[in-house]
Symmetry: C2
């Protein structure tokens, strides 16, 4: 019988730990951690994400600020806003909610954020430091997955691990982190993607599978070996006549079929998703305590 990895409960527990630490820090005279988010335009999903980040900040006792900017803002003006936050000693972490309007170069904006405040971990300096094995802000989703593995005492050392999907914010950093020379790495990692011809054969040998390709119910039972650990990063919104909202959320894993073969598996929703925001809070706390960049 498989064990369900409960991301919702784990994230709630970590939020309580963070809240406790913030209370203690403030009692000792430290400043309250402060996360700023820049939101350009009125995209529905972006609004939802930013609102949820604000709510999470308030739950753990952080200050948060949302800078709302219209979607006709020029790149130069946006860069100026980023620079202002960079220079504001009261703000510890800055995220710029993506996507940005087409006339703005996203990469340029990301690189304008001071690495010391880049709690999303998207800046090349943080990516590079993570790869090299230096202290760094690690991208929220891979950091959240590592935290789940730790909390469920899932050994990675010496295991074979397959990551499906080579995105910059999940697949690539995940593959590097799991193969690093440390207690929560030391796995033999294979990074698979759209050009992997024999995917079923590769995943079928894995002790741990991280599915992060973004295709609903892609991973089927015949691709997974008995006893595997399966982490589902995908989240697709699919029309459904069985739910009130008319939508349902599906992961990259065909859960009902795959779960019975697993030792551990994450559900969607309630698996990796809630951990992502917790990683962002954790990074903001680290930024506030100057633990990554001294």
């Amino acid at each position: 019988m498989y064990e369900l990895i409960d991301g919702k409960a784990t994230s709630a527990a970590i939020k309580e730990e963070i809240a406790e630490e913030v209370k203690q820090l403030v009692k000792e005279g430290a400043k309250t951690p402060h996360l700023a988010a820049i939101l350009v335009g009125h995209d529905g999903a972006s609004e939802t994400y930013v609102a949820s980040k604000e709510k999470s900040c308030s739950q753990v006792g952080f200050n948060s600020t949302v800078l709302r900017l219209e979607d006709d803002i020029t790149e130069a003006d946006l860069l100026e806003k980023v620079e202002a936050v960079n220079n504001d000693p009261g703000i510890d972490g800055l995220i710029v909610q993506l996507p940005l309007p087409a006339h703005i170069n996203e990469q340029k904006i990301i690189e304008a954020i001071k690495p010391e405040k880049d709690v999303d971990g998207f800046h090349p300096v943080n990516v590079g430091r993570m790869v090299i094995g230096l202290p760094a802000f690690v991208s929220a989703t891979p950091a959240g997955i590592l935290e789940l593995l730790k909390r469920y005492n899932i050994e990675t050392s010496g295991k074979s691990c397959v990551v499906i999907g080579r995105s910059n914010i999940v697949g690539k950093p995940m593959s590097i982190l799991l193969s690093q020379k440390n207690d929560f790495g030391n796995a033999t990692v294979t990074l698979c993607h759209s050009r992997t011809p024999n995917l079923k054969e590769v995943t079928g040998q894995a002790d741990i599978i991280i599915a992060a390709l973004g295709r609903a119910e892609f991973l089927r039972a015949d691709m997974v070996k008995e006893g595997a650990v399966v982490i589902d990063v995908g989240i697709s919104r699919i029309r459904s006549d069985k739910t009130k909202s008319g939508w349902k959320l599906l992961g990259d894993v065909k859960f009902d079929e795959v779960a019975p073969k697993c030792s551990f598996i994450t559900p969607v929703p309630g698996g990796v998703g809630p951990m992502t925001i917790v990683s962002l809070l954790r990074n903001t706390l680290l930024a506030s305590k100057r633990e990554i960049y001294k």
Copy 2:
């Protein structure tokens, strides 16, 4: 019958190409590319490497400068020297020959080099940009290996590739580069290391093997499948009574045994080694032409 990948001949050909391009650029009024090397102390191997880099610069028509510093230099003084080169508009690329004396923090020195002049590609900004897929100075050995694969028309797309060794300057960047979404990537890469329990099984399935663990003659015939491409990054100096010098150079691959099973294989010496210095020249040329950082 296997084909030998001749790194010596390839590097000589590339040097001629670079020399031709430099001649052309200078004729058009551009400045002569200029590589500076900082050499601290009098380590024999370091002296040899730096001398060989100087010689290569002169072969392709670059200017080169070696800053020789005593090994009792303080970290602060060394940082000042790096800063002076950073600010010297006449110098395009800077390498600091490693290792540095124990009282100096190597990472701090590497991070002090301006990313725009970091032609070794060791700075976190260059590592991060490489991972993200942005223009970057790529570490010389993996860049040299990619160049060999290209010149020998060895397809990587859709192939299974195993990298043995997870060093920051070879294994990790190599694994990322081969899995990138581009013509010279698109391989399914497995990164193996000292904690991989079933290495023989993993390498035995690979179309391409990059051996970069630094253990003489580690890769044996029974670890390689028929028709594989084998790239040997290792170079160990072993005592021998059969050579005049009393030493011989061995790679990470037991060549005589493995070669007959291969489609392509690099020798040691004369394989990957000569390509490394060519990558450094190529990076210096790119720096001089401002092609990575506009």
